[in-house]
């Protein structure tokens, strides 16, 4: 049933949407703002919104004290590597679940998802032991493996949903047209699933980039990504809000830019399948 949209209603919903948007964005905005204040201004009461002495000092201090590029590089490798590895494992898995399902497929999918409900700290000890045993502590390879496993259920689920949207008859047509399994996946399935695969990759890069529990617990110096970079400003010398904010801003900037440019793709990817 179509519902008529009155101008009044439109104004109200627009205002509500802006309110929610601003509410969600506020912490990020505040962080960025604080990064340009002095430490004194950062804890000023009442809080300063716009009228203070803008300074870049925090950024130069942060850059002097720690090597931002090294953390950034680790983040890039860990997020990118775990995503690529995850996609390689998940595409065949999702293909088989979507197109040659067995009676247990639904159970397997739910079981995979249920692992996401387990509190990560519950397996911290066994995983730490494995890391110690195999010499993986504070290595990028170890982090890539763990983050890949942590996010794999989400990757498989997303790809499975996209693949389900592809009509089986088109793949059957390819088979009738003489395509083997390889040609079918390469020439027909993958090109049709590109939007889905792209948004899966994007979302997973963001998840891996922001992952803090494992990256903080399994790294020390060598393999530490940007999450560790932020954390290093929160405790040892007391709280320095302005510097912490500068570090945070530097850490989230790349992913914020990536998200900005790919927002259309992301929204489309995440609502794909929800609207027929």
């Amino acid at each position: 049933m179509a519902r008529s949209i009155t101008p009044r209603r439109k104004i109200l919903t627009t205002a509500a949407a802006w309110a929610v948007g601003i509410l969600i964005f506020f912490p990020i905005y505040w962080t960025i703002l604080t990064s340009f204040k002095t430490e004194a201004q950062a804890i000023n009461d009442p809080p300063l919104f716009l009228f203070f002495d803008w300074t870049l000092e925090n950024y130069s201090v942060v850059q002097e004290r720690s090597d931002y590029m090294r953390f950034l590089w680790n983040s890039l490798i860990v997020a990118g590597g775990s995503t690529l590895l995850g996609i390689l494992v998940a595409v065949p898995a999702a293909w088989s679940m979507a197109f040659v399902p067995s009676r247990r497929t639904k159970d397997v999918l739910l079981w995979m998802l249920s692992t996401k409900m387990l509190p990560a700290v519950g397996v911290l000890y066994p995983i730490s032991l494995i890391f110690v045993r195999f010499g993986l502590l504070d290595t990028r390879a170890g982090l890539i493996a763990v983050l890949m496993l942590v996010n794999l259920p989400i990757i498989v689920w997303m790809l499975y949903t996209y693949f389900k949207e592809i009509p089986g008859e088109i793949l059957e047509a390819a088979r009738m047209d003489g395509a083997g399994l390889k040609e079918e996946i390469l020439h027909v399935l993958t090109p049709m699933a590109v939007p889905g695969i792209a948004s899966t990759i994007l979302l997973n890069v963001i998840l891996a980039w922001n992952e803090a529990f494992w990256t903080l617990n399994l790294t020390a110096a060598k393999a530490a990504p940007l999450t560790a970079f932020i954390a290093s400003y929160s405790s040892p010398e007391g709280l320095f809000f302005a510097k912490l904010s500068a570090a945070s801003t530097m850490a989230i900037a790349p992913i914020l830019i990536l998200g900005w440019f790919s927002q259309k793709q992301l929204v489309r990817g995440l609502t794909f399948g929800a609207v027929k």
Binding site: E169, I170, E172, A173, A174, R175, M176, D177, M192
Partner: protein
Amino acid sequence: MGRIALNGVTKSFGVTEVIPPLDLVIEDGEFTVFVGPSGCGKSTLLRLIAGLEDTTSGRIEIDGVDATGTPPAKRGLAMVFQSYALYPHMSVRRNIAFPLRMAGLDRAEIDRRVTEAASALNLTDHLDRRPGQLSGGQRQRVAIGRAIVREPAAFLFDEPLSNLDAALRVGMRIEISELHGRLATTMIYVTHDQVEAMTMADRIVVLRAGLIEQVGSPLELYREPRNLFVAGFIGSPRMNFIDGASAREHGAATIGVRPEHIEIDPDGPWEGRIGIGEHLGSDTFLRVHDTGLADTLTVRAGGEVGLKTGARARFRPMPDKIHRFDEGGARIG
């Protein structure tokens, strides 16, 4: 060449037997239609021949070679799907060329065949469009084009016209029949529409619950249906069935008379009240009630019959057009 033989083919999904043991031979060059109500197993049978489903037991031979375990890609058959199943990310040209690319033909030969198929199917102006930019009829022609370029041993059609509107359906029906006349390749065509079956087929296979009820030419099925099911399924409007005393007079449990074999006759033995009349211009189909024979009799009258709703009239069945059936529904005589 395209002779397809099924020997004792069965198909079960879990414990449900969809196709009980079935034998059927489709001769080279024949246009065979599988027809039956939904769920009768006709599409499953087609998919078994295509290789898209595995047989549970039995043998499928194509041109004398056992193809039971051969994957669909290697059977040399082409299929046209109900949903067209075009590749949405490829242009019409690339869609039609796809099976040729898979077969590893050289580019010049692919271009030649695609151009030829496109001009035969009136698609030349649309070669660089995507399927999404085409109408339903054009999409179906692309699907047919994709099937004919490979010069397959046989064509399999799975309800190819059900997504088209009525006018287009008639046009495509004729196009497919003409295509068969031109190529003289074996075609197997699945439909639930008996009009399509009657107008297109050399031979019709009537299926019910996976069993073959009758195989024959359209006119054989029309003239001598082997049982009540076939009698009721073939012919439009449906055959009238009458049981009870009137049937026993003819020495049968049930008799059947087609609407076109009942005449309006003031001296006729049957009498009834005229209900709704469906005027098609050339013909009028009258629903006749209160005959004491069946709930409703359908009678074909001339295009401009003068009978009004509610009027009473007398009818006469053509004596040599009465079909007789026994208690089990099988044809007598």
